[in-house]
């Protein structure tokens, strides 16, 4: 509730400074709660992928999303995207039905340091499925069905 009210104030005033602080707030808190190790992903880089869902593995202890996305040369690259556990995702309003084979998706990841097409989802960035944003800026999901 507090975050929502604060967000509303930000939207009204449209102050870049305020927005910057909100982004910093989420980045700080995300860093605190992440459960993916710190050695695999490059937290200084951000890659926005646009492609087709090939599989959503809602598995324990980590869920994973698989997406075929074109790179800058037009070549299709198969990405594997790490997520939290289903329980943690469920608390944020995510569900097993959120993504299915063939969905058009856009999302943002922290890429692997190894340079392989593997990333850690950035849940603070918008996730768009078939043209509809399924994640609000406060990190909760909209129903998409």
């Amino acid at each position: 509730m507090f975050v929502r009210r604060f967000w509303t104030v930000c939207m009204r005033t449209k102050l870049a400074r305020c927005m910057f602080c909100v982004a910093g707030l989420f980045m700080t808190c995300a860093a605190i709660v992440a459960h993916h190790g710190t050695g695999t992903y490059d937290s200084t880089k951000s890659v926005t992928l646009s492609g087709i869902v090939t599989e959503f593995a809602f598995t324990n202890p980590h869920a994973a999303l698989f997406v075929d996305a074109k790179d800058e040369t037009g070549k299709v690259v198969s990405w594997a995207i790490e997520m939290n556990s289903p329980g943690v995702l469920a608390r944020a309003g995510w569900s097993k039905k959120m993504f299915k084979y063939g969905d058009q998706i856009m999302l943002t990841v922290r890429p692997s340091k190894a340079g392989t097409p593997v990333g850690l989802i950035n849940r603070q960035k918008p996730v768009v499925v078939n043209g509809k944003e399924v994640l609000k800026a406060d990190g909760t999901a909209n129903a998409i069905d």
């Binding site: 305020c18 602080c21 790490e82 329980g87 608390r91 340091k113």
Partner: protein, 249 residues
């Protein structure tokens, strides 16, 4: 400027270990710890002051390849027992990630159960007056007895399985370790914990933790979060290993 200050206040309110939601005025039984608790401290081990290690402890520490902290390697190159769904063990369960994996106390007359969401694991703390066994078989959770001293629950444990790590950073713990936990519910919503690790096989002196703070989270029901070996194995092959540059054909 006003908005910058507002944003800073918001940040502190959102992330602060002791938020304004604490309600010390509400009645509570200080000898009843029942409920779901979420830890607020961000340090994922005893404290930031690691004591000197023995030669045995140092060798175990050097053999550990953690995926957290200053020695972190990519997930697929690490050897953290958690990565293969081994039990996390004690006292590491108390150090798991801040805010997302809570624990619950279930209190009965002769026994307190501590239920950890990660791994769907629980631990028994015997409060029926029994003594600690002299030479128990090593166990992932160790063997624990508890007693009340005023409003403080004192839990003493031994008999740990030394295949566990103390924490995410690969610090060691041995089968000679003795752990004392002191829990105190300072108000309805706040639980304090201080841990003392006495492990002469691994450390040259006892290690006293920082004061850990837990917040009561009544709306937070423990969810089923098994580490499922078959699913974890598939995840390692398809995500964790490729993330480390290891490609399975």
């Amino acid at each position: 400027m006003r908005h910058t200050i507002l944003a800073l206040i918001a940040t502190l309110a959102f992330c602060s270990p002791v938020s304004a939601q604490a309600s010390p005025s509400l009645p509570h039984d200080s000898r009843d710890l029942s409920g779901t608790w979420t830890r607020t401290n961000r340090v994922l081990t005893m404290s930031n002051e690691t004591p000197p290690m023995t030669a045995w402890g140092k060798a175990k520490f050097d053999a550990a390849k953690p995926v957290y902290g200053p020695r972190a390697v990519a997930g697929g190159l690490g050897n953290d027992p958690m990565m293969t769904c081994d039990p996390v063990g004690m006292p590491r369960y108390l150090f798991l990630e801040v805010s997302i994996y809570p624990m619950e106390f279930v209190q009965t007359p002769n026994r307190i159960l501590q239920h950890f969401e990660w791994g769907n694991a629980y631990r028994q703390i015997w409060t029926d007056g029994r003594q600690l066994p002299k030479d128990p078989e090593p166990a992932w959770m160790g063997y624990s007895v508890g007693r009340w001293d005023g409003d403080t629950l004192i839990v003493n444990s031994l008999g740990f399985d030394e295949r566990t790590w103390l924490d995410h950073f690969g610090n060691p713990v041995s089968d000679q370790a003795r752990v004392e936990e002191r829990y105190r519910r300072v108000n309805r919503d706040t639980l304090e914990l201080t841990i003392t690790l006495n492990d002469p096989k691994a450390y040259a002196k006892p290690w006293v933790s920082e004061k850990k703070l837990f917040k009561l989270d009544p709306k937070h029901e423990i969810q089923e979060l098994f580490c499922v070996p078959s699913e974890n194995d598939a995840f390692n092959k398809r995500v964790r290993d490729p993330g480390a540059g290891i490609i399975h054909k």
